[in-house]
Each structure stands twice: as C-alpha cells, then as structure tokens.
Symmetry: C2
C-alpha cells in the first residue's frame, strides 16, 4: 500500500473528531497493521469555527458538500447523524464513486438495504460497523462470523448512555437526573439524551440487527418500545430485593416456521450475576442464539467517540485492504408478522421481565 | 447466485461430517441468507467404509487427493487436522486455483503466513475462522472488527475440552479422569485428549491470535505452557475456598514500545463470578484489550462438530459472496523478545494466578 488512502470526513463532532485524530496519528509505520491515511477534507457546518481548534497537514475544511463529492477521496466517512441530509449525502457519495463508512444507525435502519444495493451496483462499499454497538464488532459477528448459522434470537444492550445511567443509579442510589449528569460529565451522554432513554436509538440498532440476523425488513416503528425515562431510584431498590437490577434490553426473536417476529426495547429486570446484569457503565452487550452454535456473546465499549472511532477505523481499514470487496446487499423480506409485545400492562419497569430470557441468561453464565 | 457453489471436503471426521450435512441441507431457499451449495467430493482415507453410512446426490467419495485437486470445486474445506499432509494439501489446493477453508490450528500457527501469501498471490482466499474458538468468531473480531485499534492483550479460554473437564470437576468434585469420560460421552473430547490438556492445542491457537492481534510471527513452541493434566479434585476445593475456580487460560500481552511479548498457556485461578469463571462447559471465551476500545469480550461454543461447522460454513459463505475478495496476508515481524513466564515455580496450579488479570477481569464484570 504505497500511496496513502484518502479519506474525507462529514461531521466533526464527537465521533468525527475522534476519527480525524486516529487517521492523522496513524502513520502506516505500526508494523504494517494499519495503512497510511490522508485526511483530505472535513465537511462541517461550523468548519469556520472548528478549523482553528485542530490542524492537520494537507487538510481542507469546507462547508460545501460538493467539495467532498468532487474530491479525490477514496472513502467518505459520514459522522453527522440524523436521517437527513445524511442519507442523501451517503447516496451522493456512492453515486460519485466513493466508498462510504457510516456510524449512522437511523440511516441504516431506514435506508440501509437501498443504500447497500446502490453501493453494490456502483462497485463500491458501504460499511456500518459503527452504527451498532460502538467498538463491539456485532455487525461482523452476526453478518459474517455467524453467517453460516441460522440465527433465531438476539438480545442486547445497545444503548451505552442508558446503561451508564442505570448502572450509576444501581451503584449509588441516585436519581436518573443525577446519573445523567454524571454520564454527561464523562462524555457518555448528549445534551439531549431523549433518544437514548426513550428507546428510539436502540430500536434503530435492533432493526439493523433484524436485517442482518433474520433477513427481515423491519421499520424501527414496528418495534414495541417502552421508555426508560420513568425509572426511579426505588425501582432499583425493588429489583435488588429480588436479586437483580434493571437494564434497557433490546430483544428480537424470529420464528421462521411461522414467520413471526417478536421485537421490543424496554427497561427489564435481569439478575445481578447474569451477563446483562454484569454489563456496567457505557458498555454494550449482545447474546446471539443460533440453531447450530447455541449462544454466542459479545460485549464492549458502547459509547464515547474513541470507541465508535475504532469501529469506523476498522471499516476504513477493510476498504483499504480490499478496495473492490463486495459488501452484499441483504435480501430482505417484508413477509412476516410482528407479534406485539405487551409492554404497558403494568407501570413498573419490572413488568417486562421475560422468565425465558432470565432463565437462559442464567443458564449460560450461572451454570457453575 | 444462480449456479450452486461447489465445495470439496478433505476429511469426514467430526467436523467434516458436520460440514457435509450443513452443505447438503442448505437449499438456498432460506430467505437467501445462504447460497445453494454442491458438495462435489469427499476425500477420506476410509472413504470406502464411510460412503455407505451417508449419502448425498452428486457426491464423489475418493481416497485420492488428486481427484479433489483436479475437480471443478470452487472451495476446498480442509478438516483433516495435524500438520502434514494437511499443509501440503492446502498448498496444493491453492496452487490448483481453489480457495481453501481450514479448521486446522496447527497448520495456521506454523504455516499460516506463507499460505496466506500464496493465496493472495493466486488471487484466492484462505479462511480459518474455525481454527480458533469454534463458533466464537474471534478471528473476525480481532482481524477485522478491531483492526482499527491497537490491540495490547488477549486473554482467553481456547480449549473447549479442558474447559468442559474443569467445569465438570468444579461442579461435581469428580476426578479429572471421570470428567474426561463425561466429556467424551458428550462428544467434547477425543479418544486422546493429551493435546487439549497439555496446552499444545491452545498455544497453537494463541500463536494465530498473536499474528492477528500484534503482527508477530510466534512459533507455538515459544509459548510457555503448563499442562492441565495434573489438576486434581482437591485443587478445586482449595480454589473454591478462595472464592474462585480453575480455568486453562491462554494469555498474550505485547509491549510494543519494548517489543516484548509475554505469552503462556496454563491452568489459572479465576474468581467464580469473573468472566472466565462463568465460562462453563465446552465454551470458549476471550477478552481483548485495545488502546482505544478498552476491553471487548466474546464467548461461544468452543468444541463439537456442529459449532466448528458454523465457523467453516461462515467462511464458505464469505467466499461465495465475494469470490475475488482479498484476505490480506499478515505483515509479521520476528523482531521481538519473548519474556519467559515462570509457570513452574510451584507445583500447585494456583501459582499461576496473575493478580493483574484477576483484578482487571473483576473490574470488568464485577463492577456493580
């Protein structure tokens, strides 16, 4: 890999700036593990302010998306977030012959299949490890590593912010507001954490995993969701009295014979020593059940710019290693029925306890 | 993917026969998730006996390796085990223009870099997810998913047989011999489990992970190893009195600044509620530390034909999806020093406890 691999960046926020730093500090000398990169452009609406705070050789700051689309960049990294204009810009970058790496779960949940099809038609790659699970490589685990199995269930903690808040409440007995303040101070929560707490962040990620794991075209709005915002300190006291705690879980199970999907995101009771009960701070975790492999688990850093930047960098490396690799567009079906999970029967968060999950998680990690 | 993807199989033992069954039962109709395969050849020294026990349409049984090398197969699956003749046959298959999927840790640990280089030169693929960790996709997690990080440490349970034996001893108080008998009855142990117990299986796998994680050319013989065969029921009693249990751990840590590798495989004390203490039965588990991602964990089924077949199938699917994909040969250095771990100072298995590991594992999963 003689010439540097050219990367342009959309968005210089928490994730984008972390990616920019990694790209510039990677010199290609590190035992050949990573190639040498050239960060050619940073597009940001506030480029004029931000350019003064951070410098890199040979870098053009711009507020015009056209500058990126018409550039010589091999890869465009989309780290803007939100559905629009991010989706349009990913489409435009692919149309302009770029490969794209995105951290955008909302775009991938809603437009992923169409964008992946466009990328394949263009002979380019769209990679999205960073859209789900932060540094935890769950997109590759489900999409590649377990591609040879028939996956029947995915249960996961997919929102690092809510997990940091819940484990803080559990450890200190503080209120949700206090725990949120702590998470903000540590860089794990945005100014507005409503999408984290209400479950809309996790359900977009779960919709992506349903496409990868089951081949289903799931709109995030089809996933029953109960907000975690109403959990109070006393809920943790009650959970502890039962030997457990509370986590925001994302649950998807597909009965292929009946073509029925059960999917929900909600605060749920888990036992203290279970896999999910042990997942503390801004971590993410997932338990994947396959017909032949049984249960495979994965966990890792789920929030923060540095962790998400690892996933973005891994996708950039994959493209640099094999510029003509095929990322196959998923063959998705809409021919399934969603079984509505009843998450509103009781007001207590604990009402969503699923004994089956409880039992199986216990079986896995409490066997001894 | 209109025409079936042609696969030839070397070895019809536990793994090979499980792969054969999966290939034949995969009809391509399962939502397009898997392509349709054609199992063209099964090579086995005892083909004449085995052909009567299992039938598949359009399948040629053979005892001549040339039949496979000269066939139209797109992919050759090597499931023979042992270094030779497996390494020669993988080389011959690549030279004949086939891609190869192997479950062979001994070959990949000793000849992986050279074979991957040959594959790249041939424009073919050599994939080896099944060589480490059974169904647990750790090769992709380290080689792809965390490729964007700088990995500093890997600690893992890599031998499902020994783990099944140890967790049986722990749960029932039985002897190692009795636990081995139980593992054999469940299909988790070979007639001769000496390579599992003495650590030579795990250290071959650890050498592969050192190449992927650190870019180091490590010969398995460089990895200090203490056998697990001398562990007795009483060791578990003593471990329990200290709040823990015993696991065969594989540990590799690389200090890049000093170019020093510390690597060992040995029975070690772990706390009961730690990640490794909770890993029971024939499972594998790994904790990967990255400079930017912190700790990423993964676990899954580590022994048994069905689990290993999932990893083989995933590699076949990857090749079927992208027949010209590049699996980059690793750029390995031999310019490092091995720090010899002192595993023989005391006779008790418990002497290899590493407080650092103990602490860090605890920090991760006992934080709450």
């Amino acid at each position: 890999m003689s010439s540097p691999f050219r990367v342009a960046l959309l968005g210089f926020g928490t994730v984008g700036s972390a990616v920019a730093r990694r790209l510039v500090e990677t010199t290609g000398a590190d035992g050949g593990a990573l190639p040498k990169f050239h960060l050619t452009h940073v597009f940001d609406r506030r480029a004029d302010e931000k350019r003064d705070a951070w410098h890199a050789a040979g870098l053009t700051w711009t507020t015009r998306i056209e500058d990126v689309l018409q550039s010589e960049a091999d890869v465009v990294v989309e780290a803007i977030g939100g559905v629009q204009p991010a989706a349009d810009w990913i489409r435009a970058a692919l149309a302009a012959g770029k490969s794209v790496v995105t951290a955008n779960k909302q775009v991938m949940a809603r437009h992923g299949a169409a964008l992946l099809t466009l990328a394949a038609r263009q002979g380019r790659q769209l990679r999205f490890e960073a859209a789900v699970g932060g540094a935890m490589p769950i997109v590759r685990a489900i999409g590649d590593g377990l591609a040879g199995d028939r996956i029947t269930r995915v249960v996961a903690i997919l929102n690092g912010t809510t997990n940091a808040v819940f484990s803080r409440m559990e450890a200190t007995g503080c209120s949700l507001e206090e725990a949120l303040g702590d998470a903000r101070a540590r860089g794990y929560a945005e100014a507005d954490p409503s999408a984290d707490l209400d479950g809309s962040d996790a359900r977009a990620k779960l919709a992506i995993l349903c496409a990868l794991a089951f081949g289903l075209r799931v709109d995030p709005s089809q996933i029953a969701t109960r907000s975690s915002a109403s959990i109070v300190a006393d809920d943790f006291v009650r959970a502890r009295a039962r030997g457990g705690t509370i986590r925001q879980l994302a649950h998807a199970e597909y009965d292929r014979a009946a073509s029925v999907l059960t999917a929900w995101v909600a605060p749920a009771f888990v036992t203290c020593h279970s896999f999910f009960g042990k997942t503390a701070g801004p971590q993410n975790a997932a338990l994947i059940t396959g017909a032949h492999s049984g249960e495979t688990g994965i966990f890792g850093a789920g929030a923060g710019g540095g962790a998400t930047a690892v996933a973005v960098m891994s996708d950039i490396v994959a493209i640099a290693r094999d510029r003509s690799a095929i990322v196959p567009p998923p063959v998705l079906t809409s021919d399934f029925r969603v079984q509505i999970a009843d998450l509103s029967a009781e007001t207590s968060a604990l009402s969503v306890e699923t004994p089956e999950l409880h039992v199986e998680t216990s079986r896995l990690l409490e066997a001894v």
